[in-house]
Symmetry: C2
Subunit: 269 residues, 2 copies
């Protein structure tokens, strides 16, 4: 099983961006702890030095399995389902802007909170239409470059759109693009899924990426989720993607990163 | 073990008020399903006909273990920690207004969302001071009537004040009144507690009341919580209070009430 961990390429408000700040020292520690990959959380790819990133990942022999895009929502309010067509267009443009970087690293583009929420006065059906249209456009632009997109079901406290694997799979069906799938996250699944292992099995080959955090959003091992069973379910469906740590940097980022990976490795035995 | 279920005495926005509306038909069904008690969610006790309530609970042989007060926050914005002293005073008065009803039924007064959240521009330490002062005042007024208050740790998406049992116990210590304790809720514990059974054991005799909902806030049995272990932990600390169902009325209120109780009864075997 291949393990990575989230690193924000700039200071970020999002609390569960495990590592933040200086790229070189963070990547050095991530690699030294035994992670094989680093998932990059990027608000705006135009602010990222692609050459520097490529050099650093080569230096530390780290893959980049996925790119998180949620900060464009959290810090700029961009979303696929905003009532303002200019905001929707900016969100679509932003996701397309990630394609060159994703192609360079063979990374999946994550559609998390940038999908937005159903805003007041907007019908859910209208928001879903905007969402599907935006995803189709982005998937089409990405497929030319062999890039895949993965939408993350997120618990209902954070979004009103797509909370469960079942809803995610219906969306995948509706979007109908081969390069569109899901990212499942154990923290959100704990709140939303009746049986988490069943959700994983139902996701099957449409699971493009996988996030781990324990029930309290701390590193695996700090809460009460059964990672042995969860990873076993992933193996049982022939999952060949990455297992990526997106958890709170508590008690501190280095302890969380090390203890989380140690726990996951034991869980795979 | 004594089981009850939440009934809102008036139409309510709160989704997890399992039963809502007509008192007589709801109490008849609650009793017929085998519950021994009904937890009343009351926004404003001045709108409740105490005589009618007493007659109905006698008719259906139902106890009233606790009174929920959160609707005064959800629908009127009353809270112990509002920056406006008039709002804080109204919240304290409202809780005191519940005392006669609580005394009549030997019911616990629940302090849920009426504690409020830390509002913008307010220091957490200031909010905590307001909270402690309000609780002391309410506890003193209630103790004369032999009435107890129980504060519910609530997950961090719903409030910024008191999310865990540990924080709740610190507050109990600070308030320092013998008639003040905690209400633990399995839905919130699943999100906040590292190990739920450990939290229950740490709560010990300060657990005055207990709410059950499964991980997805549906009735017990619909999610992935281990109620056998949870109820065993309650028994192990000598808990003699009620186990009260506060869950979503899904797929419909009657199915949820019946399946939830059946599942809990099996879990106690």
């Amino acid at each position: 099983m291949k393990f990575s961990i989230v690193l924000s390429t700039q200071p970020a408000q999002f609390q569960a961006a495990t590592f933040k700040g200086d790229l070189e020292s963070n990547m050095a520690r991530i690699a030294s702890y035994g992670y094989a990959g680093v998932e990059l959380a990027i608000r705006d790819p135009s602010l990222v030095n692609l050459k520097q990133l490529a050099d650093l990942t080569t230096k530390f022999d780290l893959k980049v399995p996925a790119i998180g895009t949620g900060q464009a929502w959290g810090e700029e309010g961009l979303s696929f389902t905003d009532p303002d067509p200019k905001v929707r267009r900016a969100a679509i443009t932003r996701i397309k802007d990630h394609i060159p970087l994703a192609e360079e690293f063979n990374a999946i583009i994550i559609i998390g909170l940038i999908r937005g929420v159903v805003k007041k006065g907007i019908e859910t059906s209208q928001a879903m239409t905007w969402l599907v249209d935006a995803l189709k456009e982005c998937c089409n632009a990405a497929s030319v470059h062999g890039v895949r997109l993965a939408l993350e079901p997120i618990n209902h406290y954070e979004t009103t759109l797509i909370n469960t694997t079942e809803q995610g799979l219906e969306l995948v069906e509706e979007v109908g693009e081969g390069n569109f799938g899901l990212l499942l996250d154990t923290f959100h699944m704990n709140i939303e899924e009746s049986v988490m292992e069943t959700a994983i099995r139902s996701g099957g080959e449409r699971i493009f990426h996988f996030h781990v955090a324990d029930s309290n959003r701390w590193h695996p091992g700090a809460g009460h989720l059964d990672f042995k069973q969860l990873l076993k379910s992933l193996t049982s469906i022939g999952y060949e993607g990455w297992v990526s740590g997106e958890f709170l940097p508590l008690p501190d980022v280095d302890t969380a990163a090390q203890q989380g990976l140690a726990y996951l490795k034991i869980a795979t035995l």
